[in-house]
């Protein structure tokens, strides 16, 4: 998707940021969020969908550590369960893109010719749609569910991952070790798996992390519009949308999920950026 493309390319164009502390903070945050999301069922949290009209928009209290929302539901537990949705979609959809787009890009970059034209043409068609619009259209037709949204966003992430895989493959394909392997009679498959794949894996993973960040944002946007994961499942985007009506009385209802999303997206950006810096010899630590 063009937005994905340009945005991620712009991130990729920034010089590697120094700051080990920031990097490890990011890892810590992600680890915490992932752990909470996985262990959500076993944590001592209130139920995320329990409506308590007596305790609406309440501030922090022993019962509700982060307060309650407009319907009296516990914000902290909604945040944790919402993390599940964001992380599930945010991680699995790009994985889909990676496992389809990666090989596609590699094949396109390695074999060139008609395969490449086909792949590139296909990408361009997908990229011709503003991503949000396409996501909306597809989820409308498919119906709203975690699975459908994951599939949709996965499809949307294929083009940019294909591009990166292709570009990385192109840059390696005419290096000497590939020619040497071919001279030794290695089959295409062997070259692809043994010579090229290990080399493009790292840049691809770096890009993948950046894609994760963008997907979390898009999922958030969909939920915000009410067109993502259907209620009553809590999602960060949906919580922000709900919090909008309470901005004047209890702004934290909107800002807590916003903060959670911001930190998570930022963390993935930082980590992805650092991994990318590792792979790019130009930006290597000197």
């Amino acid at each position: 998707m063009a937005a994905l493309d340009v945005e991620v390319e712009q991130i990729a164009a920034t010089p590697a940021r120094r700051g080990r502390r920031v990097f490890w903070l990011a890892i810590a945050w992600i680890a915490m969020v992932v752990a909470a999301a996985i262990a959500a069922d076993w944590l001592p949290l209130a139920s995320p969908s329990d409506i308590d009209l007596m305790a609406r928009r309440a501030g922090p209290s022993p019962d509700h550590w982060l307060g309650t929302d407009a319907l009296g539901r516990d914000i902290l537990s909604r945040l944790v369960f919402g993390a599940r949705i964001s992380l599930t979609v945010g991680l699995i959809a790009p994985l889909l893109g990676l496992f389809i787009g990666g090989p596609l890009g590699m094949l396109a970059g390695y074999f060139r010719g008609r395969i490449e034209t086909l792949v590139v043409g296909g990408i361009d068609v997908l990229l011709a749609f503003p991503p949000l619009v396409l996501a909306l259209a597809i989820t409308t037709y498919l119906g709203q569910s975690v699975l459908n949204i994951t599939i949709t966003l996965g499809i949307l992430s294929i083009p940019s991952l294909t591009r990166v895989a292709r570009a990385a493959t192109l840059s390696f394909a005419d290096r000497e070790f590939v020619t040497a392997a071919r001279a030794l009679g290695a089959s295409h498959r062997r070259i692809l798996m043994r010579e090229l794949l290990p080399n493009i894996a790292l840049p691809l993973i770096a890009f993948f992390l950046l894609v994760v960040a963008v997907i979390i944002v898009i999922e958030g946007a969909l939920s915000f519009l009410g067109l993502g994961v259907p209620a009553p499942a809590p999602s960060w985007g949906g919580m922000i949308a709900e919090g909008r009506d309470s901005l004047d009385t209890a702004p934290s209802i909107a800002f807590l999920p916003a903060g959670a999303m911001f930190l998570t997206v930022l963390a993935f950006n930082i980590i992805g950026d650092r991994v990318r810096a590792l792979t790019d010899p130009r930006q290597g630590a000197l």
Binding site: Q10, L134, A137, G220, F224, L247, F262, V265
Partner: protein, 316 residues
């Protein structure tokens, strides 16, 4: 030159066809029955059959596609299932609002991005540069809707300076109209300026190291003249390209922003169609938007070729 344009045109047509095909297929392959979805509670076998044949749903897929495409090329995108209004006229009616929003957003992005980019390039590595780079990086993690909430909270709820929603048509009240666009345009524009600024900055850093800049200094020219005339002009090529690409991103962004701020633009039309399951409108809007997107990118490509002759004659 003509050859260059011609080549791009030849490439354009298949893309447009593919776009229309995809738009159509997404709709046509939906699980379940369109007639059922539309009629919902009132579905009876006779009504469904009648509706299907009326909408041509019982014909082979290819024929349906061609029928639809033919209509689209003639300007007929069907009628809204809900209001019966012609889709194309509904789009055209809302287009000015969306365009106004995009224009303002782009202007804001430029107004912030260009000066900041220049300043960062000039003071490369300095405190300001590092600060702005950090802000730009952080900004990439703040999506439009989040920013919108923050802006609404600060400017509408707390300071009460600007309306949170509501649109005033231009011919009614110019000031009111502009006021209703401030928050939406700032939301969108703020999302774009980091990208602009980063690109301009790296381009200008490279330009500022060129010999002709040293020469300009040796000629004793004023600082601002060197920056704006000698340095900015060669860097403007990338600026144009990024602006062009931005327009594409903006199109997607308007959907969100129009919904949040209740502006009657195309984005809102799309969301409305989704919510009311008005598939005809949905299809028409998606086609319109995607086509516009492709055409904008096409123009940007041409413009790029015009500005940089190296692109015209093959890989730069």
């Amino acid at each position: 030159m003509l050859g260059f344009v011609g080549r791009r045109l030849v490439y354009l047509v298949p893309v447009l066809i593919a776009v229309s095909l995809l738009t159509f297929l997404v709709a046509a392959l939906l699980p379940g029955d369109l007639a059922v979805a539309m009629l919902a509670d009132e579905a009876t076998p006779e009504k469904m059959a009648a509706l299907r044949s009326e909408m041509g749903l019982d014909q082979p897929l290819v024929l349906q596609y061609l029928h639809w495409l033919g209509g689209a090329l003639a300007g007929d995108l069907g009628r809204s299932l809900r209001t019966g209004e012609k889709v194309l006229s509904a789009i055209l009616q809302r287009l000015p609002v969306t365009l106004e929003l995009m224009l303002f957003a782009q202007l804001i992005a430029l107004a912030i991005g260009v000066p900041v980019g220049i300043l960062c390039a000039v003071r490369n590595g300095g405190a300001f540069d590092r600060l702005m780079t950090a802000i730009a990086f952080g900004k990439l993690s703040v999506p439009a809707f989040m920013l919108a909430i923050v802006l609404i909270y600060v400017f509408s709820v707390t300071l009460k300076w600007l309306p949170a929603t509501g649109y005033v048509p231009l011919d009614e009240d110019v000031v009111g109209n502009l006021r209703s666009f401030v928050l939406p345009a700032v939301t969108l524009g703020f999302g774009e300026w980091p990208v602009l600024m980063r690109v301009l900055r790296s381009d200008m850093i490279a330009t500022l190291q060129e010999d002709y800049i040293a020469m300009a200094r040796a000629k004793g020219l004023k600082r601002w003249r060197i920056l704006l005339v000698h340095a900015l002009k060669p860097s403007s090529l990338t600026l144009v390209t990024v602006t062009g690409i931005n327009i594409g991103r903006l199109i997607g962004g308007t959907v969100l922003v129009e919904t949040i701020f209740a502006l009657p633009g195309i984005g809102r039309l799309l969301i409305g169609a989704i919510n009311t399951r008005d598939f005809v409108v949905l299809q028409g809007v998606v086609l319109f938007v995607a086509t516009g997107f492709v055409l904008v990118n096409f123009v940007v490509d041409i413009l790029y070729g015009v500005l940089d002759p190296r692109i015209r004659y093959g890989r730069a």
